[in-house]
Symmetry: D2
Subunit: 293 residues, 4 copies
């Protein structure tokens, strides 16, 4: 599977669009970009015939392009209005600010931190938040501030307010739940709608909820899976970003399921983070279009 990882040597801008499908859309967008001297690096579009929906991602080199971020927004607005677009543009100088939330299981965290340091993610990670102190050492090894905010049934509201204060203080655009074992309140979720990515350790919609590996083991499945998805108010029901599976057999114990599954969780979560930070994901309805081009 393509997991395209473009290393942007130049400054680029990315435009994501969805709107009702109409003749003249591509021409309208292409002419706009051409008239401002854009050198298109990647363009990818999709028509969902069943919804009459047009989806597009286009990325261009900023060298020679004659609009800055603010000017773009102003100049593009009339076209967007004409075609009834939902749209957003990102200039690469403004990197996504990511906070990782973790509890005790640290395999996804450690994987994300290494990939981050290796330059796989087009983002900055100003902080890691945990309800346990266990991960401090490895987080600080990578030079990232680590914040412990314990959460109990009684303190949950206060704890979430502390988390939100931290996120706001760091201008966080994306929260990654790296096996964070607390359910976020509807208040939190709606404050960060479309900005929280979770990993669930099953191929959703199988085994929604608690202890998916235990239930997979009891059911005698021949494949186990993991799913990364955006968090919505309904548990494990948000738009799916990525899924993967691995074969198991009667020879695998529950402990084997859990150990093997860790690698799947790392894979699907890291892909989701990379794609989100490269602005490759467009959410429409309860689905995602992933533009890997």
């Amino acid at each position: 599977m393509s997991t395209t990882q473009n290393h942007h040597n130049h400054a680029t801008a990315t435009l994501l669009i969805d709107c009702p499908d109409r003749k003249g859309l591509v021409a309208g967008i292409a002419n706009f970009l051409y008239s401002h001297n854009a050198n298109i690096l990647h363009a990818d579009q999709h028509q969902d015939a069943s919804l009459n929906l047009f989806l597009m991602r286009v990325e261009w080199d900023l060298e020679g392009f004659d609009l800055n971020d603010e000017q773009f927004r102003e100049a593009f607005a009339p076209i967007a209005g004409q075609f009834n677009m939902r749209w957003r543009v990102q200039y690469s100088a403004a990197k996504t600010q990511v906070a990782i939330f973790v509890s005790k299981y640290d395999h996804c965290l450690v994987d994300l931190l290494y990939r981050y340091r290796s330059g796989e993610f087009n983002c900055e990670i100003p902080l890691v938040v945990s309800n346990h102190p266990d991960a401090r050492e490895i987080v600080e090894f990578y030079g990232i501030p680590f914040h412990v905010i314990p959460v109990t049934a009684e303190t949950k509201q206060t704890a979430e307010q502390q988390q939100i204060d931290l996120l706001q203080a760091h201008n966080v655009d994306l929260v990654v739940l790296a096996r964070y074992m607390q359910v976020l309140s509807p208040t939190f979720v709606s404050a960060y709608a479309g900005k929280v990515i979770n990993v669930h350790h099953s191929f959703l919609p199988a085994f929604i909820g608690a202890k998916p590996y235990h239930r997979a083991y009891d059911r005698g499945v021949k494949l186990i899976g993991a799913t990364s998805h955006y968090v919505t108010e309904v548990l494990d029901e948000g738009p799916i970003i990525e899924q993967d599976v691995i074969r198991v057999s009667h020879r695998d114990s529950l402990e084997d399921f859990i150990a093997t599954g860790r690698d799947l969780e790392k894979t699907v979560l890291s892909r989701a983070v990379r794609w989100h930070c490269d602005h490759r994901i467009l959410v429409y309805g309860n689905k995602t279009a992933i533009f890997v081009s």
Copy 2:
């Protein structure tokens, strides 16, 4: 994945055992076989520690072996009793007699017929049964009698009795539901317990019941799957034999899901049939051990 396909040039016998795990089991079985001059071709065993269960499949060459089918049953009974075994033995001369049930979708049927003719299945197929006449031509092309038994809500009981009469007349050991679109009654299922294999077009337990591709499409999954399983009284809840998945994306329409899924259905169903006919499947609880050796 190993899908071992042994072409038995010699006559062989296969013994499948499950019992409480105890010291001396393997020695007991091995000594019995050795004392009767068995040349073991394949042996595979598994201990399920969580259930304290011992599972074994052993296959040996009959050349030089000094017991026939009937003598084996008599001679082995004391050991089986001593270790509290559930067991069965199959001499390869007695091939599994398979009936295929089909409705209108014929991709699994056509795949099974070709594999049968190619010698992939260690079985005989004396008949195909359908509630529609559509598949007659291809079935008869392969020289197999084709029986149309229409099924309606009113005639279901009579129709099932006709089916059972046919199965009994042909000494059928295994019924393969190759996208047969009628739910079998509890009476039928209990008459052929452990002897009916179905293919469901999802990775169970996701999308149990009707229209799984439609629901997968609506959910926005990134993988679709198929599952072969033994039929029990609870729909889509029987012991899973095999599962497989394939990647889909937002670019795939519902029609693509259905078309792509057909290949998965063929794969998981044909493996299940091959393994069953090679006596590689041991059902314990609601799970299967698949001895592919």
Copy 3:
């Protein structure tokens, strides 16, 4: 993996382009199509930065489009010239005419025939050619004329001329080598450059040449594969269209490799045929871009 299978209910046209990458390309093409009232159904493009190459596939509904096939060629020529394009356009009314070549192994043939009858391929198959009579019965079952042209070292040149005469008589656009065991002469290959698809039973470039399963078995690989590719004058070196693999183990015999591999061969060959007939494949250098959108 996406294996998009669009069922064209309407007449459509497909344009495939490759040319040096330049600003204004997309705008130029989009404006041309828009000015002739095209309703774009799918558009997919790719920039190969290392080659400064622009590749595009665009498919539109012909309802309301104001150019027929001939008019399109005339009207588009100036734009094509301006941007130095290699291009071709296909109107869906002109289906690809496919000839299948087969020898004795018939699994790919039977798979292709069934898919063809099921409507998976956007093509017509006016004939099947073989150097052996074995496949006649199944080919004629599907109502397709079957031609036996024996090939020996001495008769090869004459036999190929007979084949080419048949292909020309049926206006064949694509020759599918479905485990056809004769090497085509350079004369044949150059006469049908880019129009012959072969399946090789290894993941190329491993095990080029004869007996790849035997050599894979001897090497002790843990995966076996198959590859579909366009045929060029250098054996097994043509542009790769599709590859797939399956896991094997020490438990698998050479016979298992061969039997398991058959399913891979069917998969990669049928995908190649579908994509070619849907005009999704663009060959550049010795590579293929596959536009599955």
Copy 4:
């Protein structure tokens, strides 16, 4: 795929055997173990009919077993002699001592260190050796001594002697080449025959030698792979332990191949290390049997 990871709560012993296949072998071994009161936890055997070879792995609980390591070797020798066995036994108290060799690419190293700390490997890692200083920080984070031994064409012999001295000083049983970019001399290889595992970044035997991703990119493959194998004197020709692949497309740049491939390399190398340390690998000829049970 099964990647069984048994966490041995009890002391166990593992016996690996290969010998000419003969009647009575299993009975002989089973009786020996039973007579010394072994509680068998896992047993797995394989007959390679083409070589007339019998391969077996058996693991039993040491609680109640009446032979220690030394006594076992003495008591088992007569049976081993009778059946002409190559065999080895490992008592779990004697953990495999592993040295990791690394150069500048540290993704495999970091992955191995994390898995080691998480208890995935049944081994001890007393040292990491590198020809570059770069990895010191992360290795020492995990509390493992880090030795820099620079290697140049002139100093190679001396450097290897230093390496061997270190390995001997730490009683190292297994050397893991985690993208170590120096070719080991025949002297080193023969001193550690069957005890050096390498990862090659292609699905061998494709792209033997240097720059496999570059060559895969140039060839236009649709799958890239990685292979772990035992090192022998012929480069990239040793017995294959594990292979895996991932799909790529024309959209992937060479940099994408390299980045995506890193995950494959981690996977196949870590499985090889785990299986080796669990004594699941039996080398015969130039092949491996992997007993994952």
